[in-house]
Symmetry: C2
Subunit: 290 residues, 2 copies
Amino acid sequence: MKKILVVGLGLIGGSLAMALQGFEDFEVVGAVRSQATHDKALAKHAADRLTFDPAAELPGADVVVLCQDPAGITAFLRDNRDRFKPGSLIWDVCGVKTAVMAAAKCLPEGVDFIGCHPMAGKEVSGIANAEAGLFRNTHFIVTPGPNATQEHLDLLRRMADWCRFGDVIVTTPERHDQMIAYTSQLMHVIAVSVCADEGLFSCKGFEGGSFRDCTRVAALDPAMWTQLFTLNAPALCRVVEELEGRLRAYREAIQSGDRETLSAMLASASERKKRIDLERARGDDVRPSF
Amino acid sequence: MKKILVVGLGLIGGSLAMALQGFEDFEVVGAVRSQATHDKALAKHAADRLTFDPAAELPGADVVVLCQDPAGITAFLRDNRDRFKPGSLIWDVCGVKTAVMAAAKCLPEGVDFIGCHPMAGKEVSGIANAEAGLFRNTHFIVTPGPNATQEHLDLLRRMADWCRFGDVIVTTPERHDQMIAYTSQLMHVIAVSVCADEGLFSCKGFEGGSFRDCTRVAALDPAMWTQLFTLNAPALCRVVEELEGRLRAYREAIQSGDRETLSAMLASASERKKRIDLERARGDDVRPSF
């Protein structure tokens, strides 16, 4: 029997360990650090087996899935670089890819690191909220290094299918980080910026679906997102600044009383939104094969 | 049998006409302008009876619910001021309240206008998307004028309960407009600003739940929202400008590389979001009785 070692059973790692169970002839081993996580993971059978000692499992692990935060992944790669099994596949789930791919350069030849980013999540964290169905119909983004083997790319694709991801997107770490600055990190900056408004606690009774949706992700893990934002600072700052400019343009149009200009701006944005929703519904998403 | 006349069977009016059916001893009459809306409303039995001539119904209507856009409501009040039944209750569903309450000053004494705002909606519009369950667990905001009768406030409360609103919030038109600038209008300005990004169509495959949630309301009706934004320009421009400032503060913290400051900002916003979610879950929402 082969072995998948999932390191870190938080929301994503725990959900992956659950989703990966039963995949081909692999045993899924979950590595935890705290007794509390161990007990919760055991209670919900988050993995076939649990361990407090991932280093001891590495020499026998055919696949290693790193589910810590960026600093945790970097440290783990550095501290264990000589323990990975030759020919094994290592992948991670981190929301930034350039920094993680750079950190993986420390691995010896023959250990294949492929950067991954499951575009799934919840506004709550931890093994308690993990579930096997978390990845259903979400994007699985893959950033292979120059030496990624076809065998490992095929294996990764089969794992993604088994976990019920909606599609697999292959791209470069640099393009991933640029895209994600806009589609994910900016949404988190918006949510925390809205929640920093001093009127937050007096607005109860006046909030509707749009407010709940826009602020949903504000209840984020500060330590993790400090890392994610910092590691992608240039791309993220660019899209934040662009958004500031577009908000200012709307404010000026509203202030000016020029209804024609405002209406044209709203019509354009509304059309763009409808068009992209239509394209998505039609399934125009590229689903590249490896 | 008494009569409720719902004027304008779009998403909100159509849903209200559906939800109000069966309320006490009232007949629900829906007023439409186009044959297309008429036919769709008839097919889904959106009202007990349909009419193309609301003016003819007014003298016999005990309750009139105005579900047009702000300009439509203002024109309807002005054109029909002498047709309303003495002692009747008129309410509207408009997302701004100061301007509508001012327009209602044209009504003769003895016709009771109470401003209302059901905090419900969808990203799609029209009778085709109307449903009786739209208001379940949403806020029903009420801004009574100085001469609102207790009898009418009680009647409104019973209608809100019948439509399954989660609670009824009584406030002034001015406070409503201030609050709504932040909790609703700002969310729409954010959504259209995000969708105006030139990268929108190249980001497919990289969007997750936070992107879909934040941009959901961007597919708005430009004519309607031009009115809503313009009629609440000072309050809205203030909160947009404040958001620009907070986005800039995040950008500067990310750019500076000062992780401690960034982490503290994220921790504060995240705590605030968790706290308001907890308060909401505990049901701390004020539910004032009339």
